[in-house]
């Protein structure tokens, strides 16, 4: 009896498994093909690109485009600077975000105070504000403060979208830490801030990491503020440099895809390495 049962199930199981594998491969192809092709195109000589019969696997490998970028030759020179700018802006914005969010999330998680509900709603509302609404006023603000074409302008502006989510994440994370530890510290004579600094913060590193990662990723990706507030190669970020590039009359397609690859390396590595952090952050922020 058991023997026949197993035989009947096996072919069905095998079919299901095969279909599953095919489906996974299809999804993988659709997801990865554009990235692969961008990468493969950047590693071929220009002549191999401008053809109607592309080599799906590069036949002639050529690092000329990358060499061009890193030796800052001609059109490519702007990418190196843009890489630096994107990095500095992302790090700066993240630093500000982490500090503000850790501080603001704590009372929302732990304390009862008058106006708590209003602040919570306020944080939620902050997340809804579209960038275009802020664009002109912030632009005029930056211009009046002589902050156009600076990293600081972007670092400050980016907090408008990094901080709300960060506060949410930190508040959620703080709530998962048992309050007894802070209470013990207070009994031992610590001030609230002291308990926060010495007990809570060290225990919150995973939460802070989540916040930092989201902040870096969204800063790196940001385009509109960077486009509007910066116009010099000294201050402009990768997305703008890339877009500027594509807008030219005579597009150097190879350089274009090389720039695309360079833009993708940092966030791709971050997402791959910190996948679990990202998922737990998204979960904490949404399943509440």
């Amino acid at each position: 009896m058991q023997g026949t049962r197993r035989k009947r199930i096996r072919p069905r199981r095998a079919l299901a498994r095969t279909l599953l594998a095919i489906a996974v491969l299809v999804v993988l192809f659709f997801n990865l093909a554009p990235i692969y092709w961008m990468l493969a195109s950047s590693l071929q000589p220009v002549t191999d690109l401008l053809t109607t019969h592309p080599h799906w696997i590069p036949v002639h490998w050529d690092l000329a485009s990358y060499r061009g970028v890193f030796s800052a030759q001609g059109q490519a020179s702007v990418f190196l600077l843009a890489l630096r700018n994107s990095t500095l802006v992302a790090l700066g914005a993240t630093l500000i975000t982490v500090v503000i969010a850790a501080l603001a999330g704590y009372p929302l998680a732990r304390m009862r105070f008058r106006g708590r509900e209003t602040v919570l709603i306020g944080v939620l509302a902050m997340q809804m504000v579209p960038q275009v609404v802020l664009l002109i006023p912030l632009f005029q603000m930056m211009r009046r403060a002589s902050l156009l074409n600076t990293h600081l302008a972007l670092q400050i502006s980016y907090t408008t979208f990094t901080v709300p989510l960060a506060i949410w994440l930190m508040a959620a994370y703080f709530q998962s830490i048992p309050a007894e530890l802070e209470e013990a510290a207070v009994i031992d004579g610590c001030s609230t801030f002291g308990a926060f600094r010495r007990v809570v913060l060290p225990l919150s590193l995973p939460g802070l990491a989540s916040v930092a990662i989201f902040s870096v990723l969204s800063s790196w990706d940001e385009f509109l503020f960077a486009l509007t507030f910066t116009s010099t190669s000294k201050s402009t970020t990768i997305p703008v440099a890339l877009a500027e590039f594509v807008g030219q009359h005579h597009i150097n397609y190879q350089l274009m895809v090389t720039g695309g690859v360079l833009a993708t390396i940092v966030p791709a590595i971050l997402v791959m390495v910190f996948q679990d952090r990202i998922v737990s952050g998204l979960t904490a922020g949404s399943i509440k």
Binding site: V24, P54, R112, V132, T228, G260, V271, Q275, I287
Partner: protein, 286 residues
């Protein structure tokens, strides 16, 4: 004791509140002011009547609506399907999950660049592939036809953002106990019924969150438009946010741009209000 809690709380909140007021509340009020500024400096709804009688506004609003609906539906469907797929994978799940998510990591502009290269009318990979496979016998200008350009916009956006839905759905799937599906199987449910009658209803809260976030973000689409089509051909892919941007920085119509921006903001507020309503009715059920 309570008074001290108040003071301490505000001390912690101070930096965040400075930010909230300085960079958000104040600029929003400023934008509202700009939209209501009349000729002589007085209050006037002139810009709003200009907006509601501008045919380009309606074109752009329609494009945005079409784009939002189609791309969000696509992202939800494919996102949930991918999550279900991933959940059923027996080995290498972590690695495959990483690969599923990779498009989300690609910066929007870089994604636009990659797809622009693929859709190139002369040397693009898509045309080459379709011709090699015999599906097409000519090279198509994907971005120079109004319908195809909108389709391309949707595909690029869905490509980059579906992983977000996949991630959320996956996280939601992890919270569903195995026993429920086993019980369903014992009761005779096949895989389709198991998914539609058990899994999806249990995923409702997570799916709602994903739906709302994706809708609000799709409504604001600008970066992808900028890099792929700049609103063309002939306004076919011009969206509300992109239109708002060009009005300010290309046509120097600052007041009109502010008005459009407020319109977008109000639409998103309405969407958010619907969301909160739905979410709280969810809570009531559970």
């Amino acid at each position: 004791m309570i008074a001290r809690q108040n003071r301490v709380a505000w001390f912690f909140l101070a930096p965040g509140l400075v930010l909230l007021f300085g960079l958000l509340a104040f600029p929003i009020l400023d934008a509202v002011r700009m939209s209501l500024q009349g000729g002589q400096g007085g209050l006037s709804f002139g810009h709003y009547s200009q907006m509601f009688s501008d045919p380009e506004f309606y074109t752009v609003a329609q494009n945005t609506a079409v784009f939002t609906v189609i791309s969000v539906v696509a992202e939800m469907v494919f996102g949930v399907a991918s999550a279900l797929l991933l959940d059923a994978v027996p080995i290498f799940r972590g690695a495959i999950r990483t690969l599923f998510i990779l498009p989300w990591a690609v910066p929007t502009i870089a994604a636009g660049v990659a797809w622009r290269w693929i859709l190139n009318p002369n040397y693009g990979a898509l045309d080459a592939l379709l011709n090699q496979l015999g599906i097409l016998h000519t090279y198509v200008g994907w971005l120079s036809s109004p319908t195809l350009a909108m389709a391309a916009l949707i595909v690029v956006d869905a490509w980059k953002n579906t992983p977000f839905v996949t991630l959320l759905a996956l996280a939601g799937l992890q919270t569903i106990p195995r026993e429920i599906h086993e019980a369903g199987r014992i009761d005779g449910a096949n895989w389709w019924q198991s998914i539609t009658r058990l899994t999806i209803p249990l995923l409702r809260p997570v799916l709602l969150v994903a739906l709302v976030f994706r809708t609000m973000w799709a409504f604001r689409v600008l970066d992808t438009v900028y890099i792929l089509t700049k609103g063309g051909p002939a306004d076919a892919t011009n969206t509300l946010a992109y239109f708002t941007y060009t009005q300010a920085f290309q046509y120097i119509q600052l007041h009109y741009s502010a008005t459009l921006a407020i319109f977008i903001g109000v639409c998103i507020l309405i969407l958010a209000a619907i969301y909160i309503r739905l979410l709280y009715s969810e809570r009531a059920v559970y």
